[in-house]
């Protein structure tokens, strides 16, 4: 007679599939997960506490380190919050530069996700393709901001650097190149039977669940909720661009895969239009005080980041440092549904489910 019993299994914190320092305590019965308990906080750096002693401009580099694969959107959310409070009109040229930077970064972020997601299933070559193309974007952003990942590019009232000579042309060349590559990606992975078997119907949840669990980004759109803050609560100059909100109805890992790849294409559309509309000349910084002081009061703004809704709450008492700063970090919220998804799943699906959520631990832990 075979004796069975439940056992505890630690996944992480140092485990390649967790994409950082994320730990899962699994209670397993054979191969079936009975209960999953996420343990986070390994990368908590107290950004919000630190920010209380920093001037607004000094906080921007800290935001680079939250979602470190999509730092431009993080940069944007804090300057956007301060600009909203102060009522600053950002010059056109700066807005276009911001949009270009953010969308390029979004594409880079999704490429990274794509590569590592497939890598988790055991396919190594897609990662190399993804990283090759992502590297091109990082080079572009490097030329623009002087950094590959931690850009520190945006400022309250505009951006730090103007586009270097020939940069716009390079971006324009990159767009059709990546379009071609995307076709290759689909050929390489999307139709692969093993891949489909491992993602189709896996990690499924409904629209209601997604909303109830405060999911956002592709995690939400994969259930059919047509919701994109760029479209529905337009900030910056996103109302000037014609693009679609990619949604899927299935709500499984494969749906999220298609959503993200679709978003790359939409981002390319935005980049293209932004290049067309790009003002020939103009300021890249609004007239702002040397020492930025947000007016007394509070504000909460949210924007569409690569992983979902990034929010920034500032409570100011009129000083040059925020009284309280809070980031709504999409990965933190998106990860909450994980225990529910893992319950009753086979352990081999864990990787697919976790990978499809697309977390960045710097953002989860704040």
């Amino acid at each position: 007679m075979i004796r069975t019993e439940e056992m505890l299994l630690n996944v992480g914190p140092q485990h390649p599939s967790t994409h950082g320092v994320f730990r899962l305590v699994l209670k397993i019965d054979g191969e079936i997960i009975v209960e999953a308990k996420p343990v986070i906080g390994y990368l908590h750096r107290g950004t919000e506490k630190l920010a209380e002693d920093l001037q607004y401009t000094q906080i921007i580099p800290y935001t680079d380190r939250m979602d470190y694969v999509s730092a431009m959107t993080n940069n944007y959310v804090i300057v956007h919050a301060v600009e909203t409070m102060m009522g600053i009109q950002v010059p056109e040229r700066a807005e276009y530069l911001r949009v270009l930077a953010m969308e390029l970064n979004r594409v880079a972020s999704h490429l990274l996700w794509w590569g590592t997601f497939i890598l988790d299933f055991g396919a190594t070559s897609p990662l190399l393709y993804a990283f090759r193309d992502r590297e091109m974007i990082l080079n572009l952003l490097n030329e623009l901001s002087g950094a590959r990942l931690t850009f520190n590019y945006m400022r309250v009232g505009g951006v730090k650097w103007d586009a270097p000579e020939g940069w716009l042309e390079k971006v324009a060349e990159f767009v059709p190149y990546l379009r071609g590559q995307l076709k290759g990606y689909h050929q390489l992975v999307s139709g692969n039977e093993i891949f489909l078997n491992r993602t189709k119907g896996i990690g499924k949840y409904t629209k209601e669940d997604a909303i109830n669990y405060s999911l956002s980004g592709a995690n939400l759109r994969s259930t059919g909720v047509k919701w994109d803050l760029r479209k529905d609560e337009p900030y910056s100059i996103y109302d000037r661009f014609d693009f679609d909100v990619v949604t899927r109805e299935e709500g499984d890992a494969l749906a999220r895969y298609y959503c993200r790849l679709g978003e790359i294409e939409e981002s390319l559309k935005i980049i293209e239009q932004a290049l067309e509309q790009f003002p020939k000349e103009g300021e890249i910084m609004a007239k702002v005080p040397k020492i930025i002081k947000a007016p007394k009061g509070e504000a909460f703004v949210r924007i569409e980041g690569s992983r979902g809704e990034i929010g920034c709450y500032i409570s100011s008492d009129g000083k040059k440092e925020p009284y309280r700063l809070k980031f709504r970090r999409p990965s933190f919220y998106n990860l909450q549904i994980l225990p529910k998804l893992l319950e009753g799943e086979s352990i081999s699906n864990l990787i697919a489910i976790l990978g499809a959520v697309d977390i960045v631990l710097g953002e989860v832990d704040g």
């Binding site: 986070i40 906080g41 908590h44 107290g46 919000e48 506490k49 001037q55 401009t57 000094q58 909203t84 409070m85 009522g87 669940d209 909303i211 109830n212 669990y213 405060s214 999911l215 909720v225 919701w227 529905d232 007239k287 702002v288 005080p289 040397k290 020492i291 007016p295 009061g297 509070e298 504000a299 909460f300 703004v301 949210r302 809704e309 929010g311 709450y313 409570s315 040059k320 009284y323 309280r324 809070k326 709504r328 933190f332 919220y333 990860l335 909450q336 549904i337 832990d365 704040g366």
Partner: protein
């Protein structure tokens, strides 16, 4: 960054001082008459900031001469006042005018005024040196100190005048509140000189300084730091006065350009009215503590729930047909020192509308009901608020210290948090 800023301010202030000096000379020529009670009143309105600055100034022993020290103290006080005034944000033009009026009034005696001016210049130099010596720019500190000493050697009478100014200031301060700091300043200065005229001089300097500070505060762009520096160096010359004047004018202009807040009703006002009406119709009038449109936050309708009805209101916001806020976008707490606050940002995908829900909690015992049963997405954010602020959410299925771990001492985002480390 802030250090640079302070230095800039000091330099500007030095320029202002030079300007004042020129004014006094002019006044001496005009030889006006009379007393200005306003000035005295101004003098009494001593800022709190003064203490710290004055203390910093007294720290410095390098300049050695007692008189110079006293002068610097007077200077520091004036500067502190400038700052305070700048924050109060009166109309710069008004105080400028005030200063102008008092200048001629003050100059009773040509000789006296001249001496006073000299003393003022000296005081300024000393203060500048002192501020630098306190760690702003160490390289410059020496030469500045030298300058200060030179100035101090300059003239016996002037020294006396400077001391008198300091004394006058100290007296005013003492009048406001009998601070030990003030007493010290008074002791340092040997009070042998005449009084009222000096007081007036000090008042004039203050008024002038206040005006300048205000102008500066209003000015947004301003000149570069190098520019400021050059001006400060030239401050001893009356030439700088003109520059300072131009600057203050520019500042006034910049102030006028400040964006004016729109007064027209928010487009979200109807939504707020609808929410409030629905809530009061169904739950009664004593649910809400407050409701308003937050113009800083993209005009989001904001509801402040009463402590005991927070959960009921949240529940209503989610399940009511007309409201239907099915998505919790954000939940966090803030320590406002007088109270704790939980801020919840909700969104309705059905109605495409946002609302901010707030509840104020007792800071000493921050407890409220968890909204996790309503929005599963509130689970971790509530844990985070518990971890970092110590807010307890009753009814939460698994309230734990999600970021820092259970053995962490204290709640870091509380304003009275003291880091605890066994190894320290």
């Amino acid at each position: 960054m802030s250090g640079e800023k302070d230095l800039e301010q000091i330099k500007r202030e030095a320029a202002e001082k030079a300007k004042e000096l020129a004014k006094q000379r002019l006044a001496a020529k005009q030889a006006g008459e009379g007393n200005d009670p306003k000035q005295v009143a101004d003098q009494i309105a001593e800022p709190v900031v003064k203490e710290s600055v004055a203390a910093a100034a007294t720290d410095d022993a390098d300049l050695a001469k007692k008189k110079a020290a006293a002068a610097a103290k007077a200077k520091a006080a004036a500067m502190a006042k400038m700052k305070a005034n700048a924050q109060a944000g009166e109309a710069p033009a008004a105080s400028e005018a005030k200063a102008e009026v008092s200048a001629p009034v003050e100059g009773q005696d040509a000789d006296l005024a001249k001496k006073k001016a000299a003393a003022a210049a000296k005081a300024k130099a000393a203060a500048l040196a002192k501020m630098k010596a306190t760690g702003q720019i160490e390289a410059n500190a020496e030469s500045e100190a030298q300058a200060a000493t030179d100035a101090a050697d300059d003239d016996d009478l002037a020294k006396k005048k400077a001391a008198a100014v300091a004394k006058a200031k100290a007296a005013a301060e003492a009048k406001l509140k009998a601070k030990a700091e003030a007493g010290e300043g008074a002791d340092a200065s040997s009070g042998d000189d005449d009084d009222l005229a000096k007081k007036k001089a000090a008042a004039v300097a203050k008024a002038k300084a206040a005006a300048a500070a205000k102008a500066k505060a209003a000015a947004s762009g301003g000149g570069s730091a190098d520019d400021e520096k050059a001006k400060a160096i030239a401050a001893a010359k009356a030439k700088a006065a003109a520059a300072a004047k131009a600057k203050s004018a520019a500042g006034a202009k910049a102030g006028a350009e400040e964006p004016v807040e729109e007064k027209k009703p928010s487009p979200n006002q109807p939504y707020l009215d609808k929410y409030v009406k629905t809530i009061t119709d169904n739950l009664g009038a004593d649910i809400l503590e407050d409701s308003y449109i937050n113009p800083l936050s993209k005009d989001v309708p904001t509801l402040v729930a009463k402590r005991e009805s927070y959960y009921r209101l949240a529940e209503f916001l989610k399940y009511n047909e007309l409201l239907g806020f099915d998505y919790l976008s954000e939940l966090h707490g803030t320590d406002f020192q007088t109270h704790m606050e939980v801020y919840v940002h909700l969104y309705s995908y059905k109605n495409r509308q946002s609302v901010a829900l707030k509840v104020k909690l007792d800071r000493n015992d921050p407890v409220t009901q968890s909204v996790q049963p309503l929005w599963a997405g509130a689970d971790w954010p509530e844990c985070e608020a518990y971890d970092l602020l110590g807010i307890k959410f009753e009814g939460h299925p698994n309230l734990h210290r999600i970021m820092l771990g259970e053995d962490w001492v204290g709640h870091p985002l509380r304003k009275d948090y003291e880091p605890y480390d066994v190894e320290v």
